[in-house]
């Protein structure tokens, strides 16, 4: 499994656009927000947590449809399916690669971009922690969506339609954590729930994704 993870990380760095594109997209969306709602600092501060989270979701979505599609096209997926590696491990390795190349950079970049939107000082820590705890679930849920649509041409749009509603709980708790942090309220509940969603996704979704892959490889 580590071999697959290393290979995917290597491919992501070499193929260009692995780490960089998601971050650039994140930056661009955040920059668009003030153009859309006006430069009033108070308004921006209020919508900052939500905007950062929505932008992170969309950036995570960008790199998802390539998770399996490339391997499916050149036949590696079938070869991996016949390898001694269980498909569930393949899914985990893919999700981990996505998290390392997209989720983690987003988590690190978000506080840096927060100041552009006048994010309240007290919200930085809950925002960062929330993304750290929540981005794994984004990768795992996204991998499930990618597994469902791997055989389809133009599967990317359909995958977004399937995955974005599944992202809603993570988005709610993540943005709420940052908002409550900004208001000085307690943030343990939403953060714990974020962690719980990621943990449950880790436990259950690889099996569902592997099943979907097996079906699509038939």
């Amino acid at each position: 499994m580590i071999a697959l993870l290393t290979r995917d990380l290597r491919l992501a760095t070499r193929a260009g656009g692995g780490f960089g594109l998601g971050l650039a997209f994140f930056l661009i969306v955040i920059v668009l927000v003030p153009f859309g709602v006006g430069p009033d600092a108070a308004v921006l501060a209020r919508i900052a947590p939500g905007s950062l989270w929505v932008a992170a979701l969309l950036a995570a979505l960008l790199s998802l449809d390539r998770i399996f599609a490339l391997d499916h096209e050149d036949g590696s997926l079938s070869l991996l399916a016949t390898a001694p590696l269980p498909l569930e491990s393949v899914v985990l390795a893919k999700a981990a690669a996505h998290w390392l190349t997209t989720g983690v950079p987003l988590t690190l970049a978000a506080p840096a971009l927060g100041f552009l939107l006048h994010l309240e000082g007290a919200a930085y820590a809950p925002l960062f922690l929330g993304l750290l705890l929540g981005t794994p679930s984004l990768s795992l849920i996204g991998t499930f969506g990618a597994a469902l649509t791997v055989g389809l041409r133009r599967g990317g749009l359909l995958m977004s339609l399937l995955v974005l509603p599944l992202y809603v709980p993570t988005l709610i708790f993540g943005a709420e954590a940052a908002r409550r942090g900004a208001a000085g309220l307690d943030v343990t509940v939403p953060l714990m729930l974020l962690g719980a969603i990621s943990a449950a996704a880790l436990a259950a979704l690889p099996f569902a994704s592997a099943y979907a892959l097996r079906v699509n490889l038939r």
Binding site: G151, F173, L193, L205, Y211, V215, N216
Partner: protein
């Protein structure tokens, strides 16, 4: 005589052919009685005026929106475990009905809330949850439509239904959490205003029965259409 006999597509068609018109008729009767009674023959509730009458459509459609998804969940499980085609096709047939029920619930919910809120939409937890359910239905239908091979489509949509059900439950809780906002504890909710004692219970029950029967009739009809459509493509594929 086991219920699994009806998993045979041909037997299903044969058995349901005489039943469908009766169920439709019964549904129409219940709906007419329930709605006319509820709308015209019950006194206006003191507090809310006549728009509360929309409850006779809102509550049954909301109930069916959820029950349709539950039925799809059960049908998906049956497909995954026992591979009965009729089950998978029934799930597919139920989805558009559930989608429309959700839409009706959303629209009637908005109409109901309008005099209270003063706007045509509010992010009330119940309506928001139904909006998310609406999106889940859309995704489910989109996936069915995108895949050519029927067995693959049945497998993938069943897994989606399973995973989606867990997330739908999770979303319900998350939306309640979200609707509290920074004023923890307060909530703007239709539930508070649902005081069923204010409206007459009986016409509501009849209306609910009508919606249930309508759902049943539409799903049976839809399943029959799906079975026939599969039969046609199977015959064409064999060049017969």
């Amino acid at each position: 005589m086991s219920i699994w006999e009806y998993a045979n597509p041909k037997k299903f068609i044969v058995t349901t052919t005489p039943l469908v018109p009766w169920i439709f008729g019964l549904a129409l009767a219940c709906l007419t009685v329930g709605l006319v009674w509820g709308f015209f023959f019950t006194p206006d509730a003191e507090r809310f005026g006549s728009t509360v009458k929309i409850i006779y459509i809102h509550v049954p459609s909301a109930l069916m929106a959820i029950n349709a998804w539950l039925m799809m969940l059960v049908a998906s499980l049956i497909w995954l475990v026992r591979r009965h085609h009729v089950s998978a096709l029934a799930a597919r047939a139920a989805a558009p009905v559930g989608l429309v029920m959700t839409l009706i619930a959303l629209i009637t919910g908005a109409i109901w809330g309008q005099p209270m809120w003063g706007t045509w939409w509010a992010w009330d937890p119940r309506l928001t949850s139904f909006l998310i359910l609406f999106l889940f239905y859309l995704g489910y239908l989109a996936l069915w439509g995108a895949i050519d091979d029927p067995d693959t489509a049945a497998d993938l949509t069943s897994v989606l239904c399973l995973v989606g059900s867990v997330f739908a439950l999770l979303s319900r809780y998350a939306v309640n959490f979200w609707a509290q906002g920074l004023h923890q504890g307060a909530s703007l909710s239709l539930d508070r205003e649902t005081n069923v004692a204010d409206v007459f219970y009986l016409p509501l029950l009849v209306s609910i029965a009508g919606f249930v029967l309508l759902f049943l009739a539409l799903v049976l009809l839809g399943t029959r259409t799906e079975i026939r459509s599969r039969r046609i493509s199977a015959l064409i594929a064999r060049g017969g």
